[in-house]
């Protein structure tokens, strides 16, 4: 378990536009044949980035200016579809450390939280302004600040929101709940007996 909480993420931004970007687009199902998640990074958004011959479709993730981007921005209902953790795993292995969107699919948001990737919500007009900055000054860092609940970029402040329980978990470094869950071993047993499971 990490000893320090996640309070700030600094990095270049990249804007992947679109509503309802589903988990099959984030990582197409044919890349899910694996017994570990280690090799998923290069397959991120594969069919959006490359055509059927493998030629680049000039996706923002492949633009020279956005190389090494660590904060991905998108639109509404990001990560809808499957519960497969392969989607946030692929983002993380690719190097994405935080996601900004108008809204998130619930399971995706939960999976990302467990992996330590904050999913923060920013209103549309602000995202449009931020998208312009990312486009015009791609080398400028964004700071996603979970303490102040804002993104700072090019000396401008963009307020954000996120699920409070996730925010607490990032700040307290217990976004991976397993150790906490295991501490309740006795109470788990009592519950299991009360419900007749054992």
């Amino acid at each position: 378990m990490e000893s320090n909480g996640i309070t700030k993420i600094n990095g270049k931004g990249v804007y992947v536009a679109g509503n309802d970007i589903d988990t099959d687009r984030i990582i197409p199902a044919r890349f899910l044949k694996c017994v570990t998640f280690d090799e998923l990074g290069p397959s991120l958004f594969f069919d959006e980035r490359f055509d059927t011959e493998g030629k680049s479709k000039n996706h923002p993730l492949d633009a020279e200016a956005h190389r090494g981007a660590e904060v991905l921005m998108s639109d509404a209902n990001f990560g809808c579809g499957s519960s497969r953790e392969h989607a946030p795993q692929a983002l993380q292995k690719f190097g994405i450390k935080a996601v900004i969107a108008e809204s998130f699919a619930e399971i995706f948001q939960g999976n990302s939280t467990t992996l330590g990737i904050p999913c923060v919500v920013m209103e549309k007009p602000l995202r449009q302004m931020l998208a312009k900055i990312i486009e015009n000054e791609p080398e400028v860092d964004l700071t996603v600040d979970l303490n102040a609940m804002q993104v700072i970029c090019a000396n401008q402040i963009f307020p954000i929101t996120m699920k409070e329980s996730s925010r607490e978990a990032f700040l307290a470094a217990n976004y991976d709940p397993l150790d906490t869950l295991l501490q309740a071993n006795d109470a788990i047993k009592v519950t299991a007996q009360r419900l007749g499971y054992i």
Binding site: T52, E85, E106, N111, A184, A187
Partner: protein, 473 residues
Amino acid sequence: MESPVGKNLYQKVWDGHVVQKLDSGQYQIFIGLHLIHEVTSPQAFGMLRDKGLKVAYPSRTFATVDHIIPTDDQSRPLKDDMAEQMIRVLSDATIEHGIEFFPPESGSQGIVHIVGPELGLTQPGLTVCCGDSHTSTHGAFGCIALGIGTSQVRDVLASQTLAMDPLKVRRISVEGELAVGVTAKDVTLHIIRTLGVNGGVGYAYEYAGSTISAMTMEERMTVCNMSIEGGARCGYINPDQTTIDFLRGKERVPSGADFDAAAEKWLSYASDADATFDDEVVIQANEIRPTVTWGITPGQAISIEESTPDPELVEGLEKDLINDALGYMKIPANTPIKGTKIDVAFLGSCTNGRLSDFQAVAKLLPGHKVASGIKAIAVPGSEKVDAQARALGLHEIFEAAGFEWRKPGCSMCLAMNPDKLVGDEVCASSSNRNFIGRQGSSTGRTILMSPIMVAASAIEGKVADAREVFGLK
């Protein structure tokens, strides 16, 4: 003091399974039934190993293989090395940790969401989890049934619990009698079309009303299966006599007096008459027509009598979404969806791969042939479904009509096995997702519909109205 307000099923099941409230504000919830498969679970065992942990309650987890299993040649080792390795890793883990595994040729293998109910593992009042979003299927029995990620699969294996935020509950009442040719699949597509693909975010859906009450368990499973496509984390239906009758005699439920006691308990989980809900929606059954998708999300759906949308009538992002979807689908705007040429017809999946789905189609097929040039496959959802269908001779009816009758698995629903679209083929599909590239080709196109609509479309070689093709009145 007794609470003056009744509880809904979600609240009853949730309250019963709370272990404790966590500092983060979330709750630790005990999981009654955990189902695992080869795509999302092997990695979780690796995570356990890294932490030196064991499976806490191995008798509450059951495993099968479904996503990657071929539906033609299942002989081992599988031709696909990685698929073979995924099965091996899962199989070895179940042996190491003492978990019951239903492998191919065990007689009980199949799509995990078909296996649980048909064995009677899925019972009212349970919390059910699986590393697969269509776990919502099990809600048909009155369960809180949730799709989870692999780290959560790890959490359940290690502790039999999950850290969760409680959901709000929306009651969706469907009232009245469905018209001829309108099925449970049309009901669920209609609900998603009405409420949107993210309309359910933050909610559990309770499906209620006279239309739902009149449904068989298999129809109810179809409805609950697609809750996730409407953005809801789960969906459920209150247990009633239909539920009890379905479970009686199933392999993993008690028998005799124990069954009667269990049945009484199961019925008690149903929402109280004075239960309250965070939101309520009423849908009239007579407004529902056979429904098909035209775009790249399950919410982009219209009735078979309608035309594709006209992007010129809307503004902004909505216009872009329609244009993008029509562009990908290579379908013109403002044009009847009926008559759209198809290449492939797929019957199966956890949405519509149960015995009654094949029975409904087999009743209509005699005297009809799949159009020439159309690849049509019928894939039973489990070995049990396959055996029951064969015993009734259904496979022969399908084969006589020009369908291939395959071995059980997820098949072309998600193309992690050899069943895939090629190039920009169009598939009339009884599955649950029409996402870009979903069926295995990055340019492949999916049109979701009910099993009888898939059959009608296969016969016509284009999107067709089952009511016309089969003369349903």
